[in-house]
Symmetry: C2
Subunit: 429 residues, 2 copies
């Protein structure tokens, strides 16, 4: 039987998952490919630490040349994560004429454009299904099954840590801090959870989705982004009473020649399919001009789910190697779409005010909204009786600058104690 | 620019959708492929009827040879539906060395195995993404993105008509007959709805999924199957009170060397992602040994969603044509799995009895379950006070023959008026 030889960079969570899948499903994988897959070398910082893994000790090396310059190795599987040294290794591998499969969101979000071009120049392919949504086949679906569609929008829950925390707060009424601690204890959140909690992780993945779906390179740092650390259990409860769940949504949509893109905690109507995505699960909700609404749901992280995505890519590359086809990485060239503006677009909003419980307050506030062109879908006033009461508004679709103008007027009213929350509301599907 | 020439068989709903997508998204499609797609001929029974379509009149023909024997046509897109003459046309096209893309569930479910082999013999490919789940990329996901997984089970809502009817009954309390009429008025059900209502349509699609995921050819007629015509609004309400929705589920799972496969109305726990799939939407819930739980959700029918799937296949075939690669249709050969039994497996069950409201009845019934090895998860007794009351049991996982033995004993008790319902219950995800 023919053999394709691969080299692994990194042997952490996903690397172990990849090796475990090869071990467990080897017969089926080799029957599918008509050839075997052999892991020749594994690059790690300290080879001495890997004496008791499932892989033979002699495979581990700290010498990059033993992998990146070995002519027998045809595919480099990069599972180190982070920008450096992963970026350098990927670049070297492509220049050596090796195909690359990676699950590295940072490298693809920041340097995807140049790496795709470098791969094309060298007649090899670079695949990155595992970089967004773990085991969910989102990149393959966008580039292949949905290739005849113009994608209108993608709205996703693409950070499992924050979704787990929000789910636990919703289900139990626990505080953000307690839910975060629980997530850390269960391994769903890291010791330093800031990248997840603040939305940065989601922004990196969203930049990759924007690139694949719209052919537009957006720097993740430029994506308007807020996290979930300001979401209280009280807010979740208010939202629930109005028929919404609060989710951290990453959204990108085409809007009259501009590209709306942002990561924000957002109220999702109960009947929207994204509202049912709980715990550490991820989901991508896609709207294509032919397929209509589509949602892909699954585990967004973990050794085996991400290993599954990486392995799917590797198997595709093996078939490319065994069939001399012209490799095309430049799917991004198929979009003639150059957005005029990259912004965060208009939205419906949830606004919670804390106001003095006096006659006439509501009228003055609704007038201020109306004067600024913000129309209201619903108003809820809770807990009459105290001197200070919460007042909640859900607006129709409004532009953010009009909303801000209205809120500036409202803030100056002496009956308004606080604009306590401003959150986006997802359209009903 | 290069050109790939295709011929359409049929110009109904999906054919029109295909042509509309080409018209609307032509620039993006051609940029992706680096070549243009040209529809040369469209086979219809009465060409005279197609004077005012979006396609030039002279493309329509009733002469099969003008399409199937035209050496310029490289891809035949079969969108007639039904077994004959579609099966003959597909066979002829493959023998003429043409690639085939079809959305025909009947032909693939019944003759897939022989058509895949015929395509292999002729060095061409046959694709059928549109035959299951409309625009949902289920075939591509199973054969490519999830190729490294051993699939453990697939549970799907793959008939939009019945899902629409069940959703409306659940939301409004209307009867099956009224919901069916509404579905017909909205175009979600046909004038003769029996194939959908009785589960036959779902059984055909399930046979295709079993073939792709497990490499096992199952005749659709052999799949244990029941429809939704016996589901009353009362049953839906009882299920709801217990925390379940009733859905028509098509399920296939590996079970210790046997293959469990069936189509039945099933109670789905509210918290299961399939419970949130409403109206005419379809969803496939997959469990793979690497990826874990995955769900794909979207429109299971309609001109544009199914057209999107067909077009994705066509674009893939165009890339195969333009790159001289060895075509592999024989993905089914990768499975070394030969099921010992093809059956419907064990399940948890929902049993509704109508019993006399007398002391001791419940004890006798629960004893009968226990004696036959059927253990109970919950018991609900409603509406005490009348002479006859409903008594509802949800069992733990049980084999059907044990359940039948228990129910035979129970039926003979003179306090039991009727075993009114026996429905499967989906495991919690």
């Amino acid at each position: 039987m023919d053999k394709v030889v691969v080299g692994l960079l990194g042997f952490g969570n996903v690397g172990t998952g990849f090796a475990a899948i090869l071990e467990e499903n080897r017969v089926q994988i080799e029957d599918t490919l008509g050839c075997s897959i052999s892991i020749k070398k594994i690059l790690v910082r300290e080879p001495g630490k890997y004496k008791d893994t499932m892989m033979p000790e002699e495979l581990f090396t700290s010498n990059t040349n033993e992998i990146l310059a070995d002519p027998e190795i045809q595919i480099i599987i990069e599972l180190i994560g982070g920008v450096q040294p992963a970026y350098d290794y990927i670049t070297q591998a492509l220049k050596h004429g090796k195909h690359v499969v990676t699950a590295n969101k940072a490298v693809i979000a920041l340097y995807g454009k140049e790496l795709f071009a470098l791969a094309d120049q060298n007649g090899v392919s670079i695949r990155f299904e595992g970089s967004v949504g773990g085991g969910i086949p989102i990149i393959a679906s966008l580039t292949k099954s949905l290739a005849a569609n113009q994608i209108e929008e993608i709205v996703g829950i693409i950070n499992g840590t924050t979704n787990y925390i929000l789910t636990r707060m919703d289900e139990t009424g626990m505080s953000f801090e307690d839910a975060l601690q629980e997530a850390q204890a269960k391994g769903f959140a890291e010791a330093d959870p800031s990248s997840d909690i603040e939305g940065e992780d989601a922004a990196f993945k969203l930049a990759i989705l924007a690139h694949v779906a719209f052919g537009v390179h957006v720097s993740p740092k430029e994506i308007p982004c807020s996290g979930i650390n300001q979401i209280s259990e009280k807010e979740i409860d208010f939202a629930k009473q109005l028929g919404y769940k609060i989710k951290l949504l990453a959204a990108v949509r085409r809007n009259n020649g501009s590209l709306d893109i942002h990561v924000h905690p957002t109220l999702v109507p109960f009947e929207h399919p994204l509202a049912a995505v709980s715990n550490e699960f991820n989901a991508l909700f896609i709207n294509g001009n032919a397929v209509g609404q589509l949602m892909l749901y699954g585990k967004g992280a973990g050794a085996l789910p991400t290993g599954s995505a990486v392995f799917g890519d590797v198997m595709e590359v093996v078939q490319i190697i065994r069939n001399p086809i012209r490799v095309e990485n430049s799917f991004v060239n198929r979009h003639r779409f150059v957005p005029k503006i990259i912004g965060s677009g208009s939205s419906a909003y949830y606004i919670r005010l804390q106001v003095a419980d006096r006659p006439g307050v509501l009228g003055k506030i609704t007038t201020a909204f109306g004067r600024n062109g913000v129309s209201l879908e619903s108003v809820v006033q809770r807990g009459r009786g105290g001197s200070s009461v919460p007042l909640i508004f859900v607006t129709h679709e409004a532009e953010r600058d009009k909303l801000n103008a209205a809120l500036n007027e409202i803030r100056e009213m002496n009956t308004v104690e606080e604009v306590a929350s401003i959150l986006m509301v997802q359209r009903k599907s």
